[in-house]
C-alpha cells in the first residue's frame, strides 16, 4: 500500500500455493481451526435444541432437532474468513439452506429485509436477508461429515461464508426478522455492520 513504511528485514514466509484470488486482503491461510468466542461454550444437547423463526412477536416456525434433520439437507464446500485474519480453504458443511427454512414455514418471500440471529449464550449478529436467500445462508449441523463440535458452534451454527465468520453465529437458536437493521453483538462493539472480507470491512468505518 502507498505510504506504508517498509518493515526492515520482514519478508513473507508463506509456502502455500494458494492463488491470490482465493484469499481476501489482509488474510492468511491456516490449516488449523482456531476458536474465537467471547464467553464459555454452551453445551446443548440435541434433545433440548430447537430452532425458531420469528417475526415481531409471532412465531413463524419452530423445529426440533428431529424435525430439522428431516428438512432437505444441502452440502457445501467453500472457504471461510475470520476477521482475526485467518482464512480456511475448502471446508465442507452440511445443513439446511435459509431458502428451505422459508419454504418450511410456507413463505415464498422473506417478510422483512433484515434478520437478527440469536444464539445460546446471548450472542447476536445482524444480516440483510439478501445475504441469506438464494443459497447464500444456511443453518449447518455437520462439519467435514461429523457433528459440529460445540467449540465450533455445534449443534448448529449459522453459515454465511461470504461474510466474515463472526456473522456465522455459533449455537444459533432463533432467527428474528426485522423491518429495520439493528446491530448485533460485535457490530455494537466497533466491528463492521456488514463485514465483507473482500472489501476488508473489519471495523466500523472500513
Amino acid at each position: 500500500m502507498a505510504g506504508s513504511p517498509i518493515s526492515r528485514g520482514f519478508r513473507s514466509r508463506r509456502q502455500e500455493q494458494t492463488p491470490r484470488n482465493r484469499v481476501p486482503p489482509g488474510q492468511y491461510v491456516t490449516t488449523d481451526f482456531p476458536v474465537l468466542s467471547a464467553g464459555p461454550t454452551p453445551q446443548i444437547k440435541v434433545e433440548d435444541w430447537t430452532l425458531s423463526l420469528q417475526l415481531a412477536g409471532s412465531l413463524l416456525g419452530k423445529w426440533s432437532w428431529a424435525e430439522f434433520e428431516a428438512l432437505p439437507q444441502t452440502t457445501i464446500k467453500t472457504d471461510i474468513h475470520c476477521v482475526t485474519k485467518w482464512s480456511k480453504l475448502d471446508t465442507t458443511w452440511r445443513g439446511v439452506t435459509f431458502d428451505d427454512l422459508l419454504k418450511g414455514v410456507g413463505l415464498a418471500e422473506p417478510p422483512t429485509p433484515y434478520v437478527m440471529a440469536h444464539s445460546d449464550g446471548g450472542y447476536t449478529t445482524n444480516l440483510p436477508v439478501a445475504d441469506l436467500i438464494n443459497g447464500r445462508g444456511m443453518i449447518v449441523t455437520r462439519y467435514e461429515g461429523l457433528p459440529i463440535p460445540p467449540v465450533h458452534g455445534g449443534p448448529a451454527r449459522l453459515f454465511v461464508p461470504h461474510l466474515y465468520f463472526w456473522k456465522s453465529a455459533k449455537w444459533v437458536r432463533r432467527l428474528r426478522f426485522m423491518e429495520k437493521d439493528e446491530r448485533g453483538f460485535w457490530e455494537s462493539l466497533g466491528y463492521h455492520n456488514y463485514g465483507d472480507p473482500w472489501k476488508e470491512q473489519r471495523y466500523d468505518g472500513d
Binding site: F10, Y28, D32, G122, D181, G205, D206
Partner: protein
C-alpha cells in the same frame, strides 16, 4: 421497533508506531514499547492490529493485545514467538529500537475492565494470555483501586512466567490482590505452588464464589480457556460474567 443505529463511525486509520524500547520477558517473549503519536487512548483488555510491509510490497496483519494501561504514555505489546509464525518471529527476533510499523486500534469493547467496573475481579491467564490482563492489573494499580482481585496464572515453567517480578511486587504491596501461579511442566526446587493445569478443584479452592459476583476474564490457549470457562459455569458463575479471549498457536489471535 428500534430505530437503526447503523451510522458508521469514523474509520480506524493506520498509524505509524515507533519502537522506543524492547523488554526481554522470557526466552520466547518480548515486550515492544511503542510510541504512537496520534493514539486516542484505550481501555484495558483491548487490542490493536499491526501491519508489516516487506520490501516487495507483501503485507501481513495480526492482532495483539495491549499490555499497557491507558495511563502509560507508551503502548506495550507483548509478543510470543510462535516458531511457525510469520509475524511473531519477526517482532521477537528482528525488530530493533527505532523501527517503525503500522498499527490501528483500539479494537474490541467486550473483553474490557476498568476501575469503574463493580465487583471482584477474577483474572485467569495461560502463557502470553497474561498480556490484556496485565493491562487491567496495571490500570488498577495506577489508579490505586482496591477492588478484590485474583490472578490465576498458568505457565509451563518459572522461566516462562511473563511479568513475574512486577506481578509479585504488585501483590506484595496490595493485600487485595492475590496472585496464584501454577507451573504445569517444570517447577523449581522448593516450589510450593500448584503444579498442574487449572482445574475445577483449583478454581473452587482459590476463586471467588459465585455469590460474590466476580467479573471473570480468561485469556490463553483454547484448551485452557475452554476448561476454565466450563468449570466456572459448573461452579455456578453466570455465563455473561465470564469473558474469554484466545491466544497462542491454537488460539488464532496472534501468529
Amino acid at each position: 421497533m428500534i430505530e437503526p443505529a447503523i451510522a458508521p463511525q469514523p474509520r480506524l486509520e493506520w498509524q505509524l508506531a515507533e519502537v522506543r524500547a524492547i523488554v526481554v520477558e522470557t526466552p520466547r517473549v518480548k515486550s515492544l514499547l511503542l510510541q504512537v503519536p496520534a493514539w486516542q487512548g484505550h481501555l484495558p483488555g483491548q487490542h490493536v492490529d499491526i501491519r508489516l510491509t516487506a520490501e516487495d510490497g507483501y503485507q501481513a496483519q495480526r492482532s495483539y493485545s495491549i499490555a499497557s494501561p491507558p495511563e502509560d504514555a507508551l503502548l506495550t505489546l507483548t509478543v510470543e514467538r510462535l516458531d511457525n509464525g510469520e509475524v511473531s518471529p519477526y517482532l521477537v527476533d528482528d525488530v530493533r529500537v527505532g523501527d517503525q510499523f503500522e498499527l490501528r486500534g483500539p479494537i474490541g469493547g467486550y473483553f474490557v475492565w476498568t476501575v469503574a467496573t463493580r465487583g471482584p475481579l477474577c483474572l485467569i491467564a495461560g502463557g502470553s494470555g497474561i498480556a490484556p490482563l496485565a493491562a487491567m492489573l496495571r490500570h488498577r494499580a495506577r489508579r490505586k483501586v482496591r477492588a478484590p482481585t485474583l490472578l490465576m496464572y498458568s505457565s509451563r515453567s518459572l522461566e516462562e512466567v511473563i511479568y513475574g517480578e512486577e506481578l509479585d511486587a504488585m501483590s506484595r504491596g496490595d493485600s487485595d490482590l492475590r496472585l496464584v501461579n501454577t507451573l504445569t511442566r517444570e517447577q523449581p526446587e522448593g516450589w510450593t505452588g500448584y503444579r498442574r493445569r487449572i482445574d475445577k478443584a483449583m478454581l473452587a479452592e482459590v476463586g471467588f464464589p459465585p455469590e460474590q459476583h466476580p467479573k471473570i476474564f480468561i485469556c490463553g490457549p483454547t484448551p485452557l480457556v475452554e476448561d476454565a470457562s466450563r468449570f466456572l459455569v459448573e461452579l455456578g458463575h453466570p455465563f455473561p460474567t465470564i469473558k474469554t479471549e484466545r491466544f497462542g498457536p491454537t488460539g488464532g489471535l496472534a501468529s
